[in-house]
């Protein structure tokens, strides 16, 4: 990277490419932006997690770790944690296998048709999430929705998709899936750009089938991306579904579609319990920091080996 260049040519400083003299002056907007809207709030969340406060009263009370004890003692929190795990498991195929298959299919036959399909498959990313949610809400409407009309037309049971605790979470996963498939398909396409097509042609000449070239030449080069996207899924699956949970079920029925991020939102802005919400936020941030630290360490060890 640039670091070696910098060290190798200290005399080039006089003709350095960036602003001379006071480069930090140009960094002030960035420092302000992150300071005021990211790191400041993060610290403040840390402080709030130690207070008993309803967001309005003039004198919040210091309660130490009581918020953590209280919030993690609640069955709703345990439920939200478990559900977050379900979301991760449910989203995993849509974050890895399915987008990878689509990306490989598109990559196999480049051309106009592939470009067209790619544009179509990517469209969920640019669609307004609430609009898609509203559309689903009517498609899945228990009495009149298209889905149930078709199902009962062929003699299958017609469940109350969003109102039944057993079906609500899978439905949220499916509704969110389109967007994640689209985004990750693009990432797999990027990884595929690094695969040498000549190796495949050579294997074909030697009599390998399409499946064999995929299995033994393409797939091994996808492993890194699969690992990366699985890790990402574990970390952010709960955030991916947030808008759909808010728009379609509000965590219900009976907490069936809750997750830890939606729980935090509920504690803070439905119950005005800044302490509990912040305690959850601190716990989530610490957990994420640990996960990222572990991932970075694992990555470093792998690249050294």
């Amino acid at each position: 990277m640039t670091s070696t260049l910098d060290r190798a040519a200290p005399r080039a400083r006089a003709a350095q490419p960036g602003p001379r003299g006071r480069p930090w002056l140009y960094l002030v907007p960035l420092v302000l932006a992150l300071g005021v809207w990211v790191y400041g709030p993060l610290l403040w969340t840390g402080v709030l997690s130690l207070l008993d406060w309803n967001l309005i009263s003039p004198n919040p009370e210091f309660v130490g770790v009581d918020n953590f004890v209280a919030v993690f003692g609640r069955p709703e929190t345990t439920n939200a944690l478990v559900r977050t795990g379900y979301y991760v498991l449910g989203m995993l195929p849509f974050a890895t296998v399915i987008p990878m298959t689509l990306a490989i299919l598109l990559w196999r036959r480049p051309g106009r048709a592939a470009d067209g399909y790619r544009a179509l498959l990517f469209s969920p990313v640019v669609l307004a999430p609430v609009a898609t949610a509203i559309s689903w809400q009517f498609l899945l409407s228990p009495q009149q929705g298209l889905v149930n009309t078709v199902l009962s037309g062929v003699g299958l049971p017609a469940p109350n998709w969003l109102g039944d605790p057993r079906t609500a979470l899978p439905v949220i996963v499916l509704v969110t899936a389109g967007k994640i498939v689209a985004l990750n398909m693009l990432l797999f396409s990027a990884a595929l750009a690094g695969v040498d097509r000549r190796a495949i042609d050579a294997a074909r000449i030697d009599g390998a089938t399409e499946w064999e070239t995929t299995r033994f030449i393409v797939l091994p080069q996808m492993l890194r991306t699969i690992a990366l996207l699985s890790a990402l899924c574990v970390i952010v699956a709960g955030q991916w579904v947030f808008t759909n949970v808010a728009a379609l079920t509000r965590g219900g029925p009976d907490g069936a579609t809750d997750n830890i991020y939606y729980r935090l939102y509920t504690e803070g802005f439905d119950f005005f319990d800044a302490g509990s919400a912040s305690a959850l936020a601190v716990a989530i941030t610490l957990a994420l920091a640990l996960l990222f630290g572990a991932a970075a360490l694992w990555n470093r060890r792998r690249s050294r080996a």
């Binding site: 932006a33 790619r118 728009a247």
Partner: protein
């Protein structure tokens, strides 16, 4: 045969993921008493008329537009200045800046949102454009990283020569760096615009009233208020998607390229 299978797989998946919007589009033009019926029906714009009269759709779209444009402009400004400054940072300070920016991208929005809300309301920014726009600088990290990728690929001797010729930093930035960044600015701009347009949580908190919020939160409010009245809601949903979809139809290649670059980070 194999080619046919290829086409079927991709077409079916493509239709499946775009189905909700296609259905909303077709259904929104049905007469209101035939929303849930199957089969052909006369075309009617009654749902659109209702959507526009029952809810300030125009105003909401304008709000979304101003917000997305404002956030895009602000983030690009911060990103260009920062990316330019990063060119002359030493290796160690550079690592610090990149680290701080990357971490800011990983922190979940929900973990910062209460203090952000307190700061913004404390400044009297509730239900205002400033309130909708400025705090969304929190997500400027991505724009900074992407702009940095662009500035560091500008030939170093070009900028070095300008410095030797005695050009002041501001002049170099304006006359040399910015023209080089134009394609990058476009791509990052589109990315920020689309993400801001589709943002849900922050507008819901800072601008909760139906005339001052963005189309996303507006749709959610409209849904609570008119939940039993599907026709106008679907029409409103179509209208909410239309602007971004139009931009996408024109620039689809550039947009996928922009998201691709962002995803690589």
């Amino acid at each position: 045969m194999r080619e046919l299978r290829w086409h079927t797989t991709l077409l079916v998946t493509g239709l499946a993921v775009s189905f909700p919007l296609v259905w909303a589009l077709l259904t929104s033009f049905r007469p209101q008493n035939a929303i849930f019926e199957i089969g052909p029906s006369p075309v009617s714009v009654a749902n659109y008329v209702d959507a526009v009269t029952l809810f300030p759709i125009g105003r909401l779209l304008l709000n979304s537009f101003v917000t997305a444009l404002g956030v895009t402009a602000l983030q690009l400004l911060v990103a260009v200045l920062a990316a330019y400054a990063m060119l002359s940072l030493g290796a160690r300070s550079l690592r610090w800046v990149l680290g701080a920016v990357t971490v800011s991208l990983v922190v979940p929005l929900q973990a910062m949102v209460i203090p952000q809300f307190l700061i913004a309301t404390g400044l009297g920014w509730r239900d205002s454009y400033v309130g909708l726009i400025v705090p969304q600088l929190a997500s400027c990290g991505l724009a900074v990283l992407l702009m940095w990728e662009h500035t560091r690929s500008i030939p170093k001797n070009l900028l070095g020569a300008a410095a030797i010729d005695g050009a002041r930093p501001a002049e170099t930035l304006w006359h040399l760096v910015l023209p080089q960044l134009r394609p990058g600015l476009g791509a990052v701009g589109i990315l920020v615009f689309v993400t801001t347009w589709n943002e849900y949580l922050w507008p819901a908190l800072i601008a909760p009233s139906p005339t001052n919020t963005t189309i996303q939160q507006g749709l959610a409010l409209f849904n609570n208020q008119e939940g039993g009245n599907p026709g106008p809601l679907l029409a409103a949903s179509v209208l909410a998607c239309a602007p971004v979809l139009a931009v996408y139809a024109i620039f689809s290649r550039r947009i996928t390229a922009a998201f691709l670059q962002a995803g690589r980070r």
